[in-house]
Structure formats: structure tokens, C-alpha cells
Symmetry: C3
């Protein structure tokens, strides 16, 4: 890979400060960068790191100067840097060969789009459809009547069970299971009888799902992951959950059945949400919180059980001082008894 700074600036709509003819030979973070590397600075807080960096060129925010350094000024340095990396990665040899590996088992009435890449030991069941340009890694399982859109990336050991619908530009990491049965039983005479789960799962466009995630199919109808939502590793999504667009669902979150999550919601790591709730647009749930009541749009909550963020901070601070407060109460008790005793003596 060889690009001049001017080439890069053109790619990311940036302004060069310095010699535009310098060529870069690699990309790295500020700390790891060596001579010849391109790096970036997204946050003024890391300016000292940028000054010490060995990077030859640094992408910086529009208004920033770094005296003595070659810089390219842009609106969003981190995003611009990603664009450069993606541009350079295009030249890398692909990790999966175009076409269908001879050991992949493709049902006769499955439909494969143009330019798909299907790895060894992949199974594509009858009536499944795989869109143009989608790549499916080794050992993945594409069930009966599953639809996967275009430009998808399905990693190793993924299971998409029957009838699951996956949109365009979706990335699903290794070991993830989409469409397992919802956890539903009727208890009759102390025995739990299985409730058939005959719905499905819909994953909209531009979703990314981490590794070893589980997303259950609906009892009827569908479990939905909305457009642009990003799900981290080991997350559990129960049956009939509807997640809106552009949410961030961080690692090890669990969402119970039939809960509705709005758009642009953030659920931090290890959060648990009870079933049949509504989480409003733009709500933020802090890490490890347990949500047992619906949350209004824009609210920020924390704790198990969850409270508004400010209350939770205040009450947590109090909890850490409980020992002090208990001592105060005990001293007050003593003093009040003394006052009462004196009072009794005086009267």
C-alpha cells in the first residue's frame, strides 16, 4: 500500500497542513505508530500523545494545529481514519475465496446471488436465498427459507434457523444463533409443557451482531432487530422483543420477552430488562442495571432496580456512607435520651 497525503485528504475530504507529497506506508494508533504511519487524534485530551507519536501524518479535528507535525484536518477524525483503513484493506487478499467451496452443501432450490463467497462445510438449506456479494464463512448454517440480503458477512459457526430474515449489509459474528425457540412453557400440574414457537426473527439492514449472541424466534409474528443497531458479544434477546433503529446493545445484556426498545437506545454491559416493558427512544441504561419498569424517551437510568441516573448516583453515594449515617443516628439517639432525662429532672 502506498498513498500520498494528498490522495488521503481527497478520500476523506480533508485539508492538508504540510507537504502533500509525503507517502504513508501503514496505519496505527498514536502509541503504536512508527515512521511512515498514518494515525489520528479524535480527542484534544490526547494531544500530548499526538506530540510524542512517531506517526508521519495525523488526522486531526478541523480547528486543531500540531506544530511540527504533518496533519490532515477533517470533521470526524476517527471516522475519516476508518475510511482510509477500509480503502487500504480493499487491496488485501480476501479471507474467503469467491464462489462456493466444493464442500459447501447448497440445496437445489436455494438461490445464491452474484459474487457470493461460501466457505467450506457451509450448509444452505432448501429455499434459502443469499444476496449478491454476501460472504459466508466455514461451518455456518443457513436454514430453510432463510433470506440473507446483499453484502452480508456471516462468520464461522453461525446458525440462522428456518425462516429467519436478514437485511442488507448485516454482519453476524462467529457462534451466534438466530431463531432458536423462545423460552415459553405452560405449567400444567407442575410440569412445564413447551409452547410451540412458530414466529421468526427479522434483522434489518446495517445491523452488526457480535459473537455467541442468541436471538430467539417469536412465539407468533417476529422478533425484530432494527436498522443500524449494533449488538455486542454474548447478548441474549428473548422472543418477541422489538429493538428499534440505531441502538447500541453492549456485551452480555439480556432482554426478556416482548419488550419494546425504541430508537437510539443505549443498553450498557450486563444490563437486564424484564419482559413486556417499553424503553423510550434515546434512553440510556448504565452498566449492570436491572430494569423492571418502562423507561420514558431520553431518560438515563442506573442500578438494580434501576432509578434515574442522578438519583442512583446520589443514593449510591449515601450507601457508601451508611456507616457514617448509622453512627449519626446512634449519637442522636443518645443525645435525645440525655435531653429527655434532663427534661424529666427539670420538671
Amino acid at each position: 500500500m502506498k498513498m500520498t497525503i494528498t490522495d488521503i485528504a481527497r478520500l476523506i475530504d480533508g485539508d492538508v497542513v504540510g507537504d502533500g507529497q509525503v507517502e504513508i506506508t501503514g496505519c496505527a494508533g498514536l502509541k503504536e505508530a512508527k515512521e511512515g504511519d498514518l494515525s489520528f487524534l479524535a480527542n484534544a485530551r490526547y494531544e500530548p500523545l499526538a506530540k510524542e507519536s512517531k506517526a508521519s501524518v495525523i488526522i486531526v479535528p478541523r480547528q486543531m494545529s500540531l506544530p511540527g507535525k504533518l496533519v490532515i484536518r477533517v470533521e470526524h477524525p476517527s471516522f475519516a481514519f476508518s475510511q482510509v483503513i477500509n480503502h487500504l484493506l480493499k487491496d488485501n487478499p480476501p479471507l474467503i475465496n469467491p464462489g462456493v467451496h466444493p464442500t459447501a452443501i447448497i440445496a437445489k432450490d436455494a438461490i445464491l446471488g452474484k459474487d457470493v463467497a461460501i466457505g467450506p462445510y457451509v450448509v444452505v438449506e432448501p429455499k434459502a436465498v443469499v444476496g449478491d456479494g454476501t460472504k459466508i464463512y466455514a461451518h455456518a448454517y443457513i436454514g430453510h427459507n432463510v433470506k440473507v440480503g446483499i453484502n452480508g458477512l456471516i462468520y464461522t459457526h453461525v446458525t440462522l434457523r428456518e425462516n429467519v430474515w436478514v437485511g442488507n449489509n448485516v454482519i453476524i459474528h462467529s457462534g451466534t444463533v438466530v431463531g432458536s425457540d423462545g423460552y415459553g412453557y405452560v405449567t400444567v400440574d407442575g410440569k412445564h409443557m413447551k409452547i410451540p414457537q412458530i414466529g421468526t426473527v427479522v434483522i434489518e439492514d446495517d445491523v452488526e451482531i457480535g459473537a455467541n449472541v442468541t436471538i430467539d424466534r417469536a412465539r407468533f409474528d417476529k422478533t425484530v432487530i432494527g436498522e443500524g443497531t449494533k449488538i455486542d458479544n454474548l447478548v441474549h434477546i428473548a422472543h418477541n422483543v422489538i429493538i428499534g433503529k440505531h441502538c447500541l446493545i453492549v456485551a452480555q445484556v439480556g432482554i426478556s420477552g416482548s419488550t419494546l426498545i425504541g430508537n437510539h437506545v443505549i443498553l450498557a454491559g450486563q444490563v437486564g430488562i424484564v419482559g413486556h416493558l417499553t424503553i423510550g427512544d434515546g434512553a440510556v441504561v448504565a452498566a449492570q442495571s436491572g430494569v423492571s419498569k418502562s423507561i420514558k424517551a431520553g431518560m438515563q437510568v442506573f442500578g438494580s432496580p434501576a432509578q434515574p441516573l442522578r438519583d442512583a448516583f446520589k443514593n449510591n453515594a449515601h450507601i457508601q456512607r451508611l456507616d457514617h449515617y448509622v453512627a449519626m443516628i446512634q449519637e442522636l439517639k443518645k443525645k435525645v435520651e440525655e435531653l429527655e432525662n434532663r427534661d424529666a429532672k427539670n420538671n
Copy 2:
């Protein structure tokens, strides 16, 4: 699929109110149902939904009337509805072909029962036994000397490691690992030396296990999942845990080594249980609780650390008012000081 209401009523031991000759063409929830569909109403709370539903026939509790609607009255509407669905699903083409897929690798001395269905790229190791009617989906791994009972359902990418014993009518969802080594080490001079895990896992009849669950083999002897117990996704069961019959273990629960769980216990989502405890029959542990002491039969607990449910509710309510209480303490302190000052002046 076509069935008259009378056929359905016979199947589920129900009483028809209305024209028994009407035919249904599908099954759905009250909300999603369209004309021709069968639906059900389990809870009087949803009666308004039933009245608005487009379903042609609704299964209802014995005593209920829905004026203007065709109904079938039964003891357990939700269970009855499941029975109808299961009856209709029988006519669906199977998702896995009967017989053994030519790419499945079956050891010479493995034993397969009658009417098994074994999918592509399944591996069945020496001395393994698969019972009559059991279905094993693509890429599953059945280890050495594993026994799987009759009518089982083993989904894609499941691993049953050597010597694991699985009863009849057991369902294991995709990606689940049964029989991984227990987490056991002896620390010698600051280094953790592995303790061999030479026990196994026993899964009794009628158990269902969700996706991406992990159940570790015992150090000696066996880890046990009791008859009829239902385990949700991403649950962790450590070595030598013994779980009783008909328990519900909800998603992302973790149970540490050698803990004994009684019968009919409910562990809600994300609960964690310390090792070497005993959880009595019928105990209920609320979501996200952390259990560090044994629990008596029938007790309900909540919190981390867990307390009896009522105490936990009371104390949680107090926690959410701590700010108020602290203000009260501070005001009392001021008043007591004033009283003391006046008292000093007066004497």
C-alpha cells in the same frame, strides 16, 4: 391444513360454543390473527384484545363467554392451543431429512436407533448411542460413548462431549456445550495447575436447554439436570451442580460448582449462585440476584446479596429514599444541637 372446530374441540377436550362446522386455516396470537385463524385467550385481562381480534375462533377458559365470537372452552387455553399447533405442524415437511446424511461421520461401533435423522457434517464418535426418532442437526458433535435417548432434538453446532448421558425427549438448542471441563485448579507457588475433570453430565428426560449454554462435567461423579427442567440461553452450569426436576433456569444465570438445586425451583434472568449451596424445593430467586447463602424450600429472595423478597422490596424502597432520610438526619442533628444549646443556657 384444514380442520373444523369440532375436530379441534375433540383434539383438546373442549366444548364448542357456536357453529362446529367452521373450518380454520391458520393459528395466530389475538393481535396478529386474521380471518380464518384460530387464537386463544389465557388471561381475562386480555378480553378486550379478544373482542377486537379478527380470529374466527378463540380458545377460552371453561367459564368464559365472548358474545358474538365462536369459542372453544377448555381447562388450559394456552396449553390447548399449543396442542393444536403441534398437531398441525406434524403435516409440515420436516426440517431435517430422515436417515443419515451422506456427509455425517458415524463411527463403526456407534449405534443409531430407528427413524433417526442425522444432518450434514454431524460427527458421531465411537460407542455413542442415539435413540429412536432422535434428530441431530448439521455440524453437531456427539462424543465418544455419549448416550442420547429417544425422540431427542439436537440442534446445529451442539457439542456433547465424551460419556455425557442424555435422556428421552430432550431438546438442546444450537451452540450449546455439554461436558466441557469443570473450572478446577490447584494453585501451587502462584501457578494454577489443572485438576483433571473425569466425571460426566447427566441430562434427564424432558429437559430443554437453550442456545449457547455451557454445562461442565463433574470433577468426579456427575453434573445433573433433573427431569423436566427447562434452561434458557447462555446459562452457565458449573461442575458437580445437581439441578432437580421441573426447574426453570432463565437466561444468563450462572450456578457455581457443587451447588444443589431442589425441584420446581425458579432462577430468574442473570441470577448468580455461589458454589456448595443448597437451594430448597420451590424456591424462587428474582432476576439479577446474587445468592451467597443456602435458601430454604419455598423461599423467595431478591437482591445482591439476596434477601427475602419482602425485605428486599422494603429495603430497596428505603434506598430510593436515602436522600430524604439523610436530610432528616441532618435536620435532627441541627435541632438536637439547638436543644442542647438552650438546655445549657437554661442551666
Copy 3:
């Protein structure tokens, strides 16, 4: 298997008390042992169990006597017992045949060491290297340019994605994913744009990783699991986390991006750690704790948010008595009002 007690004592550097010519025919825990078995006693607390045990020989600590029992005295009974088991297991038929299974797909320019065992349907991609004596079970995936050291054990359905580096004597249990993309996005106009994750993962020597674990590759540079560290099932390690040597990371722990964990750290089950923190050497985090601030070497913390262990115990005790304290406050309030009223009357 047949060994005399004298043979065993020689193997584990122990002293026989009793007849050294007795032969053992099996190994088991004190409870499960039958005549002919070897067992062990690590903790004086279990002495009554040892006295009732049917084991023919018991490995005990150096200073201990068990009148009427054949014993072998050693420094570390549990470790010594493991050594005997490992010695005996050597004679067991292997669970995976030596050599390369004909269905394994080994890239032409991959390099396999001596005495490897590679199971059915394993995929080893171009430029991967597998060290001498390493065993790779069915359906595992070894990505492009992955290095696995000597004497490794890679179980079924494991994914090692491209460029991951694994040291010697490493055990990785079934379903675990190493090298999935880190969870990194830049949000531009409300849309989360993927940040390329071009770093890798390094797993040092003597590490063991449980089942269905996820370890993300670094954005740049590398995520590291230090030498001798043992990771339990369903753990999540985010991108750029650096874990030191000889740590214990118990089941369902989640560690957020770029956090540094020292050496000999213990994170108990279901702990969550925020990103960009430093956890000092020898720190211990109790189960279910949520760590949002860095922790100094040797500290023990508990709670969500985590506090020093002693404070957490004290404050938890207070929380469980909040009802009592609130009653005290309310009584004090009443008494102070009475005192004020009397005071007002008197003046």
C-alpha cells in the same frame, strides 16, 4: 490400570504409611470411592468424610494420620492426586486419532507440526501453523495466519480468526471465539459507523479458556491473555484488554475495552469491568461486582458499584437493616418535636 502404592508414592514424591504393595484399581472423590480406589484429603475439615470413605488408599497432607487407613503423605494432596490421574489417563485410548482426518481441510501453505491430531471437518486456513502434539477437535476453524503452539488442545466448534497467536500448552474449550471484531463505532449523524478492527489477539502459554467464551481482536495492536491465566465459560473480553499472568477469570465475567488487568488477579463470577481501567496485581473482585474505577494492587472489592470489601460488607449489613434505621429516625423525629414543644412551653 494397576499401580502399587509404592509406585504412586514415587510418582508424587510421597511417604507411604502402611503396606506399599497394595494395588489400586481406580481413582475417585472420598464420597464416591469404592474398594480398590485411590482418593485424597486436601482439607482437615473433611477428615470425617475420609474416615467413612471406602477408598483403599488416601493421599493426605504431610503431617496427617488417619488411623486404620493406608495413606500417602505429600505436600499438596489435591495436586498430587491430579498427577496420578493424569498418569493413569495416559493409558486411555485417545479421544481423537493421531494424524489428520481425511475430511479436514488443510491449506497447502499451512504448517502442521509433528504428532498433531486433527479431527473431522476441521478447517486450517492458509499460512496457519499448528505446533507439535497439538490436538484440534471436529469442526474447529483455524483462520489465516493463525499460530498455535505445541501441545495445545482446541475443542470442537472453536473459531480462531485470522492472525490470532496462541502459545504452548493452551486449552480452548468448545464454541469459543477468539479474534472477533471489537465493538467499535463512530456515531455520525445518529448512525453508528463501524471502526475497522485491524489488531489481533495473543494468548500466552499455559492459558485455559472455557466454553463459549468471546475474546475480541484489538482495534490496533493486540488483546492479550497472559501466561497461565485461566478463563471460565461465557466470559467476554473486549478489544485491547490486556490480562496479566496467572489470573482467574470466573464464568460470565465481562471486561470492557482497553482495560489492563495485572498479574494474579481474581475476578469472580458475573463481574463487570468498565473500559480503560487498571486493575492492580493480586486484586480480587467479588462475584457480580461492577467495577467503574481502577483498583490498586492487592485490593479486594465488592458491590455494584464496587467498594473495598470491608466497607461493602458493612454497608450491605446496614442495607439489610434499613427498615430498622428508618424507624429509629422517625422515632427520633417525634421525640425531638416533643422536646421542642416542651421547651417552647417552658420559655
